[in-house]
């Protein structure tokens, strides 16, 4: 896991996130957020998480941007300009303290890329060794998601269905 490819990607990630925050117009901010999702998908593909990179590229850079832009189309352009106010001191100081606390705990995490970390040695060797013989599915992520842990996926489907229903109830009651 060389750092020479990953460090420029991480710097680009932080730069695009900063760009999405600093820009004054909301439409440009939303489109820069789409490019932030693309860079995030690249970082995940580099780390070996191809399924996650696929979903993030399609959902984050595709669907989320479409939702934002369709909402912005119904809003008067006067209301999309951002007002700048001086930052509150309490928020800045407390968030900096929180950041220092998180960084202080960084040494206790397992080293990046360690095969003997507790996350990789408890349950996941069972899935890696047995999923091909049990389910005839080479893609281990799909086998875990749809077979070993199918109940979680069922509940997630319920959440998605409820979200579609709620959007309908919120916005279409007056149109009929």
């Amino acid at each position: 896991m060389t750092y020479s490819f990953e460090l420029p990607l991480l710097i680009l990630l932080i730069l695009t996130a900063g760009g999405a925050i600093v820009v004054k117009d909301l439409l440009s901010s939303v489109l820069i957020l789409g490019s932030y999702s693309f860079f995030l998908a690249l970082v995940w593909a580099w780390l070996g998480a191809v399924d996650v990179a696929f979903v993030e590229a399609v959902v984050g850079a595709g669907l989320a941007t479409v939702f934002f832009v369709i909402t912005l189309f119904g809003i008067d352009p006067r209301d999309t300009l951002i007002r700048r106010t001086p930052p509150p001191i309490a928020a800045v100081v407390s968030l900096l303290l929180l950041g220092l606390l998180l960084l202080y705990a960084a040494n206790d995490l397992a080293a990046f890329g360690d095969s003997a970390s507790p996350a990789s040695t408890h349950v996941s060797p069972f899935y890696l060794e047995n999923s091909l013989a049990d389910t005839r599915t080479p893609n281990v992520v799909t086998a875990i998601l749809m077979d070993y842990r199918a109940l979680d996926t069922l509940m997630e489907t319920v959440v998605i269905f409820t979200a579609g229903l709620v959007c309908w109830l919120l916005l279409r009651r007056d149109a009929k």
């Binding site: 896991m1 990953e6 460090l7 991480l10 990630l13 932080i14 996130a17 900063g18 999405a20 909301l26 901010s29 939303v30 957020l33 932030y36 995030l40 970082v43 995940w44 780390l47 070996g48 998480a49 996650v52 979903v55 993030e56 959902v59 939702f67 934002f68 909402t71 912005l72 119904g74 809003i75 209301d79 951002i82 007002r83 929180l98 960084l103 040494n107 995490l109 397992a110 080293a111 990046f112 360690d114 095969s115 996350a119 990789s120 996941s124 060797p125 899935y127 890696l128 080479p138 893609n139 281990v140 992520v141 875990i144 998601l145 979680d152 959440v159 979200a163 579609g164 919120l170 916005l171």
Partner: protein, 125 residues
């Protein structure tokens, strides 16, 4: 102190996660525009998912798609697949809740005519 800084330099992903998380949280808490708060919330959610995925990386390992025809499968040769499963669910639920929060913002705009938090609060009184 020196080991702390050395620990930070060995984990660039964690430093990126901390920066994105705190910046997104600051935007969510302090900005007045409702849509800008949603953008900050999106940054917080994706940074946490980024942290979950980096705990699954392994040195010299490949994607978790098994090549059939092998007799013995070494778990060390494949990236840990469990955090990928959790993050897949999290990403799709994130976009569904983004749709709901955008519907709420659209309803507020239709009723009060403004996206600014202070003006909406004034009109509520």
């Amino acid at each position: 102190m020196v080991e702390l800084v050395q620990g930070w330099l060995l984990r660039p992903n964690f430093i990126a996660f901390v920066i994105l998380f705190l910046w997104g949280l600051y935007i969510t808490v302090t900005h007045h525009n409702l849509l800008k708060k949603l953008i900050g919330l999106y940054l917080v959610q994706t940074s946490v998912i980024f942290f979950l995925v980096t705990t699954s990386a392994k040195d010299g390992a490949t994607v978790p798609i098994l090549m059939s025809g092998e007799t013995a499968i070494q778990p060390d040769a494949y990236v840990n697949p469990l955090p990928h499963v959790l993050t897949l669910t999290a990403i799709v639920v994130q976009v569904a809740t983004l749709g709901v929060s955008l519907a709420l913002v659209a309803g507020i705009y239709r009723k009060y005519g403004s996206l600014d938090e202070d003006e909406v609060l004034k009109k509520l009184k």
